[in-house]
Assembly symmetry: C2
Homo-oligomer: 422 residues x 2
């Protein structure tokens, strides 16, 4: 793979935005929650119906459709030369209160790219593939990004089969039940490159008036739960100096999280999203409190520094307040940096299309970070209206959907056509 | 009333501690929760049984027992001269998870004082009365200290009758049902003075190794509920500067409460006992949060300053975080200062008994603060083990119970015997 080429390389082909929107709407009808949203949890009947529809579209285009042992579906349009394909894709499972763009856009825009090439009779040197990966959301079966994790060799399919969902069902059984226990082996073949179009699910692009995000990587995540035990006391009769106030300590953790993020600056985010105090009465000093801490950074060293500062603050609070403290790690992922040349190519192509572009990290996890383990990978973001996602109100403007699909088209063609020597 | 007299005035009489403990235990059996605790909510069958027992003891002593229109019971031992009695007392209703000392001690110690005088043939110039007031706890019918409030003329009995309990029952109906809708008019006769023995319900006396508290007054109380509305956001994709984090603001209120109490010092206490964030998920910035603020001080001006600082901090947080804020007042009582001469008399008497004494304010409300509206009033505190109250584990050491009852005995006698000119 070589560096991005100049403006002369921008193709003249453009996707059919109406067709893409029509497919987004049709897929969104399956599992519709009636309020503009969608509920197609992984390996449910709704997921099967969504899969069947997309596979039908893939087959209608004459693509070679393969289902692997974890239910990932890869549809390939051959190139002029053999070899691994340039792959795009995403997921079509949703959260329980999902929108119609999250994941679906990346899959259907990839399909649209292939249909555009097919109708134009445009060949590429390398094959181009579009994939959808199983259980990206993790809403029914944990962990999330499961299908792409197995595809990339991060977990054996056999191990994944024994996962139990929130409804008590076994993943392997559900995969077979809906007819998507395929025969293509896992891990999958390493693509030549992987590019995923996705909605931002955050407010940054919209806020800056940018149309395309060239995603530099995915933030590392550190989740923990902190439980303080102190002493229940009467809020009137217990002087301040006698207190062992677990609620105060949990609240101070939330304030410290904000301060740590501000001190570290950059892309550091820190959130206390859950905070419970017991007994939770106006006139009782809380004897017990629980909170969660979510720290994220694109830079592993800074993320570790945030963790150190938070741990020190928790220790300090427990000590000064006379509390016991219990910590439980909920999740820890290192940051993923996307391939610099793919990021550059996305940025350059978007500029050549005349769009305002911004390089930014992803705050959420995506299948692309799993594919990044096996090939050069990157992502294209388009703005989310109001930064809203995982919500029936999730929306991306039609002109942004179209812009993203056309950038994806040219990025894929460039990767598929580039000189093998690069 | 005149200033406390010297050591020569300390009487030789002492209460029968065994008899007092026996009565505490017998009354504690009614409504026993089986774990050392007691549940006799106001005007329930258990409250009636407790009342009947205490009234029986009062009548057995030959006292003149009167029940007023709100169910307060006042038992009088005549003096050598007519006129208003020196009154002691407290309440015998409990919270749902109450102990056997809260309230009960003040009533039964008063009864013990009268029995001690009776058995010794000791007369007093003025009558001495022991009272128990209806619904001090407010656990079934709000507000608390209801009976003493009506006794002191702060609420009409007819208004109180229409109060509805947590079980939907009307107070007036329940009062009649248990047979305690009496005929003595409300408001009641102003006593010559009122002195209430009560457990501290806090840790201060125990911590300092003091046996008797000479209570200087009751803290003023300011309760409010604060609700912030911001915006739900993804904890990964939403940079810090884009957030409208209601959970952060509520947590910062809890931290500010602590800071305000530390800055104002003295007896200022500040508590955020309830704090809820929504949706309460590890990876979602809370769009909604609610907390309570409990501020108390013995000094009204300082309490108002605490309220001002808290209001300013809430405004500042709402402004900087871009939130709407709603405040709801839950309660507001001004501090009550007890009569300086009664406080001095309690302190002097306890010292003459050889006890370590501490002057301190009460952090909780008591019937004495209502009686303080109509006569010189004060309180005697005895230590609570571990500061625990409103709990089956509530306990006061036997030697402290005895010490408190004997101080009460001499304080009542001194007030009952003092020169009319004072």
């Amino acid at each position: 793979m070589r560096a991005a080429r100049g403006p002369s390389d921008v193709g003249e082909l453009r996707v059919d935005a109406a067709r893409l929107h029509s497919r987004l709407a049709e897929l969104g009808e399956i599992g519709s929650t009636g309020d503009g949203g969608c509920a197609r949890l992984a390996l449910t009947d709704e997921d099967r119906a969504g899969r069947d529809l997309v596979v039908t579209w893939m087959r209608d285009l004459g693509l070679d459709v393969r289902v692997d042992g974890i239910g990932n579906v890869v549809a390939v349009r051959p190139g002029r030369e053999p070899g691994p394909p340039v792959m795009c894709g995403s997921h079509i499972d949703t959260v329980a209160t999902g929108g119609v763009f999250d994941g679906n856009l990346g899959v259907l825009a990839g399909l649209e790219v292939l249909e555009t090439l097919e109708r134009a009779g445009r060949s590429t040197r390398r094959p181009i593939a579009v994939a959808f990966f199983t259980d990206e959301e993790g809403s029914r079966f944990s962990p999330d990004m499961l299908g792409s994790l197995v595809y990339a060799g991060g977990m054996a399919a056999e191990e994944a089969y024994d996962l139990v969902g929130i409804d008590g069902k076994r993943l392997g059984d559900e995969l077979a039940r809906i007819g998507y226990l395929g025969t293509t082996p896992c891990p999958g073949e390493a693509p030549y490159a992987y590019v995923e179009l996705h909605i931002e699910q955050g407010p940054v692009l919209e806020h800056h008036g940018d149309v395309i995000g060239a995603v530099t990587g995915v933030q590392g995540i550190s989740w923990q739960e902190v439980t303080f035990e102190g002493q229940f006391n009467h809020a009137g009769t217990t002087p301040m100096s006698y207190r062992h106030d677990a609620g105060y300590a949990a609240a101070a953790v939330a304030v410290a999280a904000r301060q740590i993020a501000e001190e570290l600056g950059g892309h550091q985010v820190a959130t206390v999203g859950a905070l419970e105090v017991r007994p939770g009465l106006v006139n009782v000093v809380a004897g017990r409190a629980r909170c969660t801490v979510d720290l994220r950074n694109i830079d592993e060293e800074v993320l570790e520094e945030a963790e150190r500062r938070m741990a020190a603050e928790i220790d300090r609070l427990a000590g000064s307040e006379g509390l016991t403290v219990a910590r439980r790690g909920l999740a820890r992922f290192e940051p993923v940096a996307f391939d610099g040349r793919v990021v550059d190519l996305v940025e350059a192509t978007a500029r050549e299309h005349g769009h305002r572009v911004r390089r930014l990290p992803s705050g959420a996890g995506h299948d692309a970070q799993m594919l990044a383990r096996m090939c050069p990978a990157g992502m294209v973001f388009v703005p989310s209206v109001g930064g809203v996602s995982h919500n029936p109100a999730e929306r991306t403007l039609p002109e942004h959907v179209e812009a993203g699909a056309n950038v994806l088209l040219d990025v894929l063609c460039r990767l598929a056509d580039e000189d093998p020597a690069s």
